[in-house]
Symmetry: C2
Subunit: 397 residues, 2 copies
Amino acid sequence: MIRVEAVDAAEDRSEIAREIMRGLPEWFGIADATAHYVAAVSELPTWAAWTDSGAPAGFVSLKTQGPRAAEVFAMGVRRELHRRGVGSALLAAAEEHAVRCGAEYLQVKTLGPSRPSRGYEATRRFYVARGFVPLEELDGLWEHDNPCLMLVKRLRHGIEIHPVTGLPEVHEGDDLAALIVERAGIENGDVLVVAQKVVSKAECRVVRLADVEPTQRARELSGDRDPRQTEVMLRETARVVRSRPPLLIAETRHGFVCASAGVDASNAPGPETVVLLPVDPDASARRLRDRVAELTGRTVAVVVTDSFGRAWRQGTTDVAIGLAGLAPLHNLHGERDLVGYELHATTIAVADEVAGAAELVMGKLNRIPAAVVRGLPHRGDGTALELVMPAERDLFR
Amino acid sequence: MIRVEAVDAAEDRSEIAREIMRGLPEWFGIADATAHYVAAVSELPTWAAWTDSGAPAGFVSLKTQGPRAAEVFAMGVRRELHRRGVGSALLAAAEEHAVRCGAEYLQVKTLGPSRPSRGYEATRRFYVARGFVPLEELDGLWEHDNPCLMLVKRLRHGIEIHPVTGLPEVHEGDDLAALIVERAGIENGDVLVVAQKVVSKAECRVVRLADVEPTQRARELSGDRDPRQTEVMLRETARVVRSRPPLLIAETRHGFVCASAGVDASNAPGPETVVLLPVDPDASARRLRDRVAELTGRTVAVVVTDSFGRAWRQGTTDVAIGLAGLAPLHNLHGERDLVGYELHATTIAVADEVAGAAELVMGKLNRIPAAVVRGLPHRGDGTALELVMPAERDLFR
């Protein structure tokens, strides 16, 4: 186990940095430069990583650069502990401190790629894998033969929602997770939001109307809609909640209450076809999540969404119909507010809010059926079926 | 009127740059450096701004720095056209191009503050006002006496949601807009999301239960709740939609259907007090918007939110109960999807999705009653009352 702690005493900071750098001559081989680092870190916020045996495993020092930016001034990890998460833990501590101090950007300078070095190549890879982006190799900032690469990372003070653009039309059997991760820079902890329509297409939940013979009931509920489409809706319906032809509000076999039992002709694979909801959208989300882990080694949550209408309010919002790796509800029951009042019935449908947030960058007209939500504080696990109101508590059945 | 256009021919790029720089000796007074710029921009993507008379008003040239970063290489605006939006329009064109090319960060180098210069102070202000953050004054990158300040801006490929932290408890008569803008870096085009609770407190929509005498009906509908609280709810109620004591779903005088007619004891100013919805939340939003413009000169949209339960689904999501500067609904009616299918009834409740998205960074327990949503593509204008389903279309009255 590695423990990361702030180092408060100036002499401790320098001593730990000296000891770590001494074991890393490939990076800290220039005596003058190293002496400069040792002296400077004594004055800088510094964290050390400690092994169980009490030996320093690594250190990082942070330098503020004005009120809105900070710099990873120096960092080192004992060679035999490389690739064990020590650097990640140190960097996380430094970033957390920088965010607390109000910094919006974190920069780091390291040897640029124009002078080949296996050690520094690994250093650059380390930072890039943790969200830093090479900004420029700055000619002349350091002495000749030491090209200085500056990398920068925007520090997050909230949530980011990125559309996944450039996806092709999705067909039966497509590896949807692969199509997405090829086009999205997935990071650990991201929530990947995927529109039901592409999940259903990949899972072949498509019905050709030519194969459907409508019943009398379907004809009655159709209004001016193709009765074969209504027939498909009724086959997906466990209970008709309201109907005013052609409008049909149904409880699906999953338990979701929505228009048309989730059956939709828009963005279908072609005319005369309709798309159904996945058979088990929670299982679809879980499979996507597992496949993303397999392809990238990263742990994400997945939310499968659909656009649902609401009682009493105009317009649809996207909600979660399938999920994996995320608790759908954030229950504040029993927590107290700032004046001590106990919250009684406050449960927030986080997964539905994530779905709606992602819709803001997704597009029904421009083939953006997926988005990445980054920085969501809540996690946990659960299913979208937990979002369905149990019949005995439902005032609106 | 200013028109910004890409300049394609190498000689045109250099000629326009030379002409603009010639009129700006305060910035481009070193002949060698200017000659270098003139030569270099011939090879770089360059945009020119044109006045109605056909004279070049300014130019900007962009340099890529690897696949993920770009640099504002050179920029100038004819002196007599400063502070007319020419620079903003040029920068916007360059940023749009950089985003399209996949750049995540945009940097610019200019003279640092350690060498005083009124012209360059204006230059730094220009970039900071457009979202750039000073990263570091780089000693030694440029020749002596020319300290190089590097500024950086994360280019947006989606939406960002920032919590507004550090707000004090809000009291009657507080200037809520001022409290927020002091703590949030508001930019033009942002959507400011504010929880109803603080709006109501600032507007003194607080009732002391000691002043309330419950009617018999309030006692009947109270269950185990304080009947005085139920009495307050009934006074806010236009129509009881459902009741299962103590649960009361009501249509408020505004037309919103929600639990307890929007009356809430959590986060109230003290025990034995409850908070009501604002009298006219759309007007509250408009006042906040106007006040933000007055204080900052920036144009934002404002959404006032509350946590509403939903029929058939567990948990609350935040929705818009007041808004200004944003169209609540995005109507796709009549638009065609990629296979040519005409969308019939697709209207997205954008304002409710914005409200829910902001809730993800707001906190009922930690005094974060406001958030800034940046990068939302939709705008327009309207009111939250447009989100209320008209009675004649409501299947669930």
